[in-house]
Point group: C2
C-alpha cells in the first residue's frame, strides 16, 4: 500500500506531477495591471462580446481552457478529467464550459481557493495514475460577483475601504506526470475556519485565519519554515487580510520574513485603479499563477514557492440565516527543474 | 509510474478501498418510505429543531457526518479529509458542517451526482494513500431546494406530473483501505451533457442522457455488460428519467434487462405519498446507498452493483440567461467480500 500522507493534513507526491501548460484570460482592468503583459488574452471590455456578464464569465472560462489545451498541444478528447469551479451559483461558468468541452467533469466549490483545490485534486489524480492529463481551472467576474453577493453595479454603491475588487478572468492549468513549467511536490488541505465575521465587504479578515491555519499545518507537517521557500504566495487576502496573516503568524512564532510574502490580490491591479483593499475572486490567484508565478519558476527565478489560494465561503443564503462567513485555504508546493 | 486508467474515462482501483461505515438521516416523509426503517435517524419534522429549513439542512448534514464517525468508531481528528456538497448556493450545508467538524474540506458541486462524485474522489485519495480515512457526504432539503430553484412552499404552487420531490436528508460514508461494508473497485467519470431541456420541473429528462452517456462509457471502458451486475442503480432519474434511460440504452444496443435497473428516486418514498415522478436531490441516492444498497451488499444479497448518481445542473443564474439545463452522472462499482 502506498502512503503519501505527511503529518496531519498534508500530502507528499511521490511522482511530483507537473503543470504541463498554463493559460489565462482577463478583463481590461487586469490587463492594465502589473502582470497584464503576461496574460494570454485580455478582453476589450467586461462583456467580452456577450449579452450579459454571466455569459461573459462562461465565455472567459472556456477561453482559458481552450487556450490551455492549445498551449499544451493537446486535444480535448485526450484529457481524462476537468476539475474546476467559479463563484456563480451552482458553478455555472465551469459546468457550461465542461459541457462545451465534453471532458469528464468534477465540479468543485472552494470560493477563491478553487485554483489550489483543483490543482491539489488534479495532482492526486495524475500522481496516482488515476487520470492524466487533467485540466484544472478557476474563474470569476467582477460584475456577476457584485450582483450575486452584494449589489448590482447599476446601484452605484459606495465601496468600503476593506472591500476587494473581484477579478474578471480565468486561469487553466494542464496537470500530468512529465516535464512541464513546475512540479507539484506537496499539498496541504485546509480546514474551514470561522472567526465570526459577517461583513461581506471584508473578505481579507475572513480568509486570513484560514490562511494562517493551513500555513501552520503545512510547516508542522513538512518540518519546514518560511526559509525553505523563495516566496509564500497567498491568493487574495488583499491589504487587510495580508496584514492580519502577518500578525497571526508572528503571534504563532513563525513570522513571515520581509519580502517573502506575496499576495495575488495585491499584485494584480494597477494601484492607480484604486481597488481599495486589492483584488479577489477565483480568477485572481488563477491569473497570477499562470501569468506570473509559473513563468518565474520556469525561468529559475524562484526554485520553490508555496502557493496558497484562500477562499471566503460567502453566501447570501447563509447571510439570510444570520450566519457568519467561514474561510478556507489550500496550499501547494511548486518547484522548478525536473 | 502507476496507471489505473481504464478505457476512456474510467478508473480501476488497484487497492479497492472500502466503504468502512455509512450513516444517513432524513425527514419524516423519507422515514415513511420503503427504506425508512434502515435510516439511522428520522427527524420528527423538516425543521429538525431549527429556525429555518436552511439551518435544518445544515443540521441534518452534520448529523449524518457525526453518526458516520460514530459508526466507524473514529474521532474527527483522525479523518484526513472531508469531501461533500449539497444544493444550497455555495454548498453552505456542507461548508458549515466542515467548519463544525474541523476536518480538512474539499467542497464539491455535482448537484444530485454529488454522493458518487465524493466517493469517486474519496476512493482516489484513499486508494493512492493520499488521504485515508476520508469522509464523503451529500445532502439536500425539499423546502430549501424548492425555495431556491423554483418557488417557496408558501406560494402553494401546483406541481407538474414530471416534477420530482427533493429528498430531505443526508448520507455520509467513511472511505479507507481496509475491511468494510463494500469495496469500490471501479469508477467512471461523467461528462456534462445537454439536450436543451429548460423545464425546471423535468429533471429526469435532463439527467437520463447523462446517465446513458456514463453508462455507455462504463461498459465500453470495462468491457462489461449489464449481465456483469446484480443491479444497475441510478440516483434520481425518477419515473420520466428512468423510462428515458431504458429507451436510450435500448437504442444504443445495450438494453437494461427487466429487474436489473433500480432508481433511488423511485425507491425512497411511499407511493401513497404521491410525489409525482419520484424523489430527487443529493440526499436521495446518498440515503438509499447508506440505508439499502450497502446493507444488501454486506448481507451478500448483491455481489456487484453499479451505483451511478445523476445530477441536473439547474441554476436560476443560468435560467435567467436563457440557458438550458445540463446534466452529469458519475458511476462506481461496489462489490462485496474482501
Amino acid at each position: 500500500m502506498p502512503d503519501s500522507r505527511l503529518g496531519h493534513q498534508s500530502i507528499a507526491f511521490p511522482h511530483s506531477p507537473a503543470i504541463l501548460a498554463a493559460a489565462c484570460v482577463s478583463g481590461p482592468k487586469e490587463g492594465r495591471g502589473p502582470v497584464g503583459g503576461q496574460i494570454d488574452m485580455v478582453a476589450e471590455d467586461a462583456l467580452y462580446h456577450q449579452e450579459s456578464y454571466e455569459k461573459a464569465e462562461h465565455a472567459l472560462f472556456l477561453a482559458a481552457c481552450n487556450r490551455c489545451l492549445e498551449k499544451a498541444g493537446m486535444q480535448k478528447e485526450n484529457i481524462r478529467a476537468m476539475l474546476g469551479g467559479d463563484l456563480l451559483n451552482q458553478i455555472m461558468a465551469s459546468s457550461l464550459s465542461a459541457r462545451d468541452l465534453a471532458i469528464p467533469f468534477l465540479g468543485l466549490y472552494g470560493a477563491c481557493s478553487t485554483m489550489a483545490e483543483s490543482l491539489l485534486l488534479g495532482a492526486v489524480l495524475a500522481d496516482g495514475g488515476y487520470a492524466d492529463p487533467v485540466l484544472c481551472a478557476a474563474g470569476s467576474h467582477y460584475a456577476t460577483a457584485e450582483r450575486q453577493y452584494r449589489f448590482p453595479l447599476e446601484y452605484g454603491n459606495q465601496r468600503t475601504p476593506a472591500a476587494q475588487w473581484t477579478v474578471t478572468g480565468a486561469g487553466a492549468c494542464m496537470v500530468g506526470v512529465g516535464k512541464g513549467m513546475a512540479r507539484i511536490t506537496h499539498g496541504t488541505l485546509g480546514r474551514v475556519t470561522d472567526m465570526g465575521i459577517k461583513d461581506a465587504n471584508n473578505m481579507g479578515a475572513v480568509m486570513a485565519p484560514a490562511a494562517a491555519d493551513t500555513l501552520l499545518f503545512h510547516f508542522q507537517d513538512t518540518g519546514r519554515s518560511p526559509a525553505d521557500y523563495d516566496q509564500i504566495i497567498t491568493g487574495d487576502l488583499g491589504l487587510v487580510g495580508s496584514r492580519l496573516l502577518c500578525e497571526l503568524m508572528t503571534e504563532k512564532g513563525i513570522p513571515l520574513p520581509e519580502g517573502k510574502h506575496m499576495d495575488c490580490g495585491l499584485s494584480i491591479f494597477d494601484p492607480k485603479d484604486d481597488t481599495h483593499a486589492g483584488g479577489s475572486g477565483c480568477g485572481c490567484s488563477a491569473i497570477l499563477l499562470c501569468a506570473h508565478i509559473l513563468p518565474k519558476i520556469m525561468r529559475g527565478e524562484w526554485k520553490r514557492v508555496l502557493f496558497m489560494a484562500t477562499g471566503a465561503l460567502l453566501s447570501t443564503t447563509t447571510a439570510q440565516q444570520g450566519e457568519t462567513i467561514p474561510g478556507v485555504a489550500h496550499a501547494l508546493v511548486l518547484e522548478g527543474g525536473k
